[in-house]
Amino acid sequence: MSTLVNGVINKSTVPSVKYTAKEFSSDQDVRWCPGCGDYSILAQVQRVMPDLNIPKEKIVFISGIGCSSRFPYYMNTYGFHSIHGRATAIASGLKIARPDLSVWVATGDGDGLSIGGNHMIHILRRNVDVNILMFNNQIYGLTKGQYSPTSEMGKITKSSPFGSVDMPFNPAALALGSGGTFVARSLDRDPKHMQTIIKRAAEHKGTSFVEIYQNCNVFNDGAFFQFTEKETKSDTVVFLEHGKPLVFGKDGDKGIKLDGFSPVVVSLKDGSHSVNDLLVHNETDSTLAFILANMTYNHDLPRPVGIFLAIDRPRYEVEMEKQIDSAISKRGKGALEKLLNSGDTWVIQ
């Protein structure tokens, strides 16, 4: 990196003092609708930040357009609220140029998967070390209630008065299919779980894709209530934990086992199956990750929540720095005079 950039940035990788969550709150008024799930995500991110032990000035939040994309304004870090769909591309450029930074993207199902879908799949395959928080509310909020690429088929919205005929994306499967190395799902109404996942995402080296089910109480209220509310949650959600069998239901009375490649629900109560028969989660198994991600829209199965996959793979920005280092060691540090005078030259006396 040039001496000019090096001359101003903090080279330390740890803060001099331990931060509090409050120190990550900016002076701007938060303008999301009262009751929006985004408040919870903001709070959890601010709570996790001090634990990451990264100097505040090294952290950058980048967003596109949409309700979720207001996020950077509320974080007392560096921030960039950009244009629709491009946050992941801006983040890629920043991280490649400045691998020393902790780069985050706040995006939504419209911003990240519709207009920004192309950049999303490409950042995932390149494995640029950026943490992506994808707030999925299954609706366009900022434009006031059209169906989104994660809205269920048949959904009635302002732009689909007779029901949407669009097949929704399964974001986790999309991220896995794009070569994502860290793919997870969490819930706005489960702060503890979200904090754990955000922390793991931050620690992961490579692109982290975290889908967060987020309630839009104005345009799509209750879209995830069956997964987030106490009365139904235990029967509709299975939490994925590395090395643990897939148990769910009230009192842990149900589990998931594999029938061939297909997950099926079994009872742990009727004596037919024990915990030993259940599928044990392994977050480093990419085949298993696909099987689990594909449980998503299967109404006979609980919704998987947690870390689908967390594996290591070379990171784009690291590989690029390696090429630069290798070129410098082989050819010597570039000298402008020599470069200008390269090729066939001749002298006129």
Partner: protein
């Protein structure tokens, strides 16, 4: 027999053949040798759009034109004096560029029945009188090449690939050129394949000897060195020069260089060049699309890089929204548009100047952007350097316009000394006391650059309207009006920081020919010719289109008629009329080709009427 030698001031040769015939290489070698012998020159390659067009077809023809001379050479030549045609298709495609009385050298082996049919000839042009107004020399290059290599037992494919060296050898003989440069090149190029060194060298010498010993050619020519400014030269094309200009700007600003780009004709070579300069720490990011090209660069600019994105017209269309973001966030960025024929996909491999209004005005909202246009291949170096300087000093995106003609065309470049290039001073904000992201410098109106990683300067920027000074989101009517005007004035003030425009010719007179971009050499040639005839004609070439140099209005007022030749339907002329209310006349041609200087001369004559 001693052959007659005629001395010429300037000559234009066009080498033409099938894509696989090595015409670019042949032309390149002739260029390098002529440059080393001290001629001034200008070249232009003419590639087919198809990657591997079927052999022998007209759309598979590849050409290379070189114009060299004892005098100053500013264009690759309106027409060629000599056409080397390796097959029937290349003759058919290129015949219209040849002057009446010009020389055609054909490889007769390329005029067999199959070749004639593929080229669309019903009978051989060598057998009828269709070429009677030219001097035609028929040489069976293929056969002579085979004979020259008969004892080497080479594979026939290898033999076929050397026949361009026979043509090159003949032209070296015809123009009294040394073979040494090319022999040295062959020796280095095929270092590990001695049989190819032998084959290529032998065939080239055979071509030279053929000219010397047979009776076919009675005359050879001499083109003496040109009085070029002393110094060290290299041959450079516009895309190479653009790439070098950015590396130089990064060095002189002490910033890392970041290129976000998506391959597009004719701009891709800038990406290729820069991706090789890893030892300068250059980071080239080949993106998933044009939008990621610019937005990744914007991300890098936020992080403190000299950030650039390179593309052509359709790519600029896709980047438009992001250019607006860079305007709003006031981050430094250079967007290079190597213009090509449009609209839509248009003519990707052909040149045009039709993106000027797109560059100056083509965004949503009031989004002023400085626009610079390079005028020749080597001028692209200075264009890239200057665009970087302005972007960094004024914290703004800058558009650099080049075009397919100067991007691929090449000319000798008097290499500047690295130490003579001006430093580009950049200062990042570091003081956290009283920092406001949109506080401005009193003179330049530029905001400060505070990069992530700097303690105490954490701040947020974005595409929503900013409150003056604080940069917070703001919807107040008065604030928006103020910010719109501040951003516009910031760009207008750049006029205080660029050189005044200079005319080539007289301070006042009958006709002022105003050009911009790649038409420089052609207009200069035309104007000089008319001036030699004693006509009152002057040339003004604009390198800065937005803002214009402060004296342009004053200059325009000094001439009776203003002529604006452009390879579009009249774009600069709209700007000049709008800003200065001048009754300028356009000369507009949009054929995907550069102007010929004769076309400009004729227009000047027409304007001057009978006036001598």
């Amino acid at each position: 027999m001693e052959k007659e030698t005629r001395v010429l001031d300037e000559v234009t040769i066009r080498f033409a053949g099938d894509s696989g015939d090595g015409m670019q290489l042949t032309g390149g070698q002739f260029t390098n040798t002529s440059a080393a012998m001290g001629n001034d020159l200008s070249t232009f390659p003419d590639y087919p759009a198809e990657i591997r067009a079927p052999i022998g077809t007209t759309y598979g023809v590849s050409g290379f034109q070189i114009h060299f001379g004892t005098t100053e050479i500013n264009t690759p030549g309106d027409h060629c004096d000599i056409l080397v045609a390796m097959n029937a298709a290349s003759l058919k495609v290129n015949l219209r560029s040849l002057i009446d009385g010009g020389i055609i050298i054909v490889n007769t082996d390329g005029f067999g029945d199959k070749n004639l049919k593929l080229a669309g000839y019903t009978q051989s042009p060598l057998a009828d009188d269709s070429l009677s107004k030219f001097q035609v020399f028929q040489v069976d290059i293929t056969k002579l090449t085979n004979l020259a290599l008969a004892d080497l037992n080479l594979n026939q494919k290898v033999v076929d690939k050397t026949k361009n060296f026979f043509a090159l050898g003949m032209m070296y003989w015809m123009f009294n050129r040394t073979l040494d440069n090319t022999i040295q090149w062959i020796t280095e190029k095929f270092e590990k394949k001695p049989e190819l060194i032998e084959a290529n060298t032998r065939v080239m010498k055979a071509g030279w000897n053929y000219g010397e010993t047979t009776d076919i050619f009675a005359v050879k020519y001499d083109v003496k060195p040109a009085p070029l400014k002393p110094g060290k030269y290299r041959n450079i094309n516009g895309n190479q020069a653009t790439a070098l200009g950015f590396v130089a700007a990064a060095e002189k600003s002490n910033l890392p260089l970041f290129l976000g780009s998506y391959p597009i004709t004719p701009a891709s070579d800038i990406l290729h060049e820069l991706s090789y300069f890893k030892n300068f720490g250059v980071k080239t990011f080949q993106c998933e699309d044009e939008i990621a090209g610019i937005t990744s660069a914007i991300g890098a600019a936020f992080g403190g890089s000299l950030a650039i994105t390179t593309t052509s017209g359709p790519g600029v269309a896709l980047k438009t929204e992001a250019i607006g973001l860079a305007v709003m966030t006031e981050l430094p960025l250079v967007i290079v548009n190597v213009q090509r024929g449009g609209p839509s996909t248009g003519l990707p491999t052909k040149t045009e100047q039709a993106d000027l209004l797109q560059a100056v005005y083509g965004r949503n909202g009031e989004a002023p952007v400085p626009v610079i246009a390079s005028s020749s291949p080597s001028d692209c170096f200075y264009g890239a350097f200057e665009a970087s300087r302005i972007a960094l000093k004024y914290m703004t995106p800058v558009i650099l316009l080049t075009d397919g003609y100067i991007a691929n065309g090449s000319e000798p470049w008097l290499i500047p000394e690295a130490k003579d290039l001006k430093e580009i001073p950049v200062k990042f904000r570091t003081d956290p006391v009283n920092y406001l992201p949109y506080m401005r410098d009193d003179v330049t109106l530029s905001r400060e650059w505070a990069i992530p990683g700097t303690p105490g300067l954490e701040h947020r920027i974005g595409g929503l309207e900013k409150q003056d000074k604080t940069g917070n989101i703001n919807y107040e009517p008065e604030n928006h009006d103020k910010m719109i005007k501040l951003r516009a004035e910031k760009i207008e003030r750049i006029a205080n920081d660029i050189p005044l425009a200079e005319v080539e010719g007289d301070k006042s007179g009958d006709v002022l020919v105003v050009g911009w971009g790649g038409t420089y050499g052609t207009i200069k040639t035309a104007v000089e010719k008319k001036r030699k005839e004693g006509k009152s004609v002057t040339h003004l070439h604009l390198h800065y289109i937005n803002p214009l140099p402060k004296n342009v209005g004053e200059i325009l007022s000094q001439y009776k008629t203003i002529l604006v030749p452009e390879i579009n339907l009249g774009q600069l002329i709209k700007i000049l009329r709008e800003k200065f209310l001048v009754p300028a006349i356009g000369l507009n041609k949009v054929q995907g080709l550069p102007f010929r200087s004769i076309e400009i001369e004729q227009k000047i004559d027409e304007i001057l009427g009978g006036k001598k």
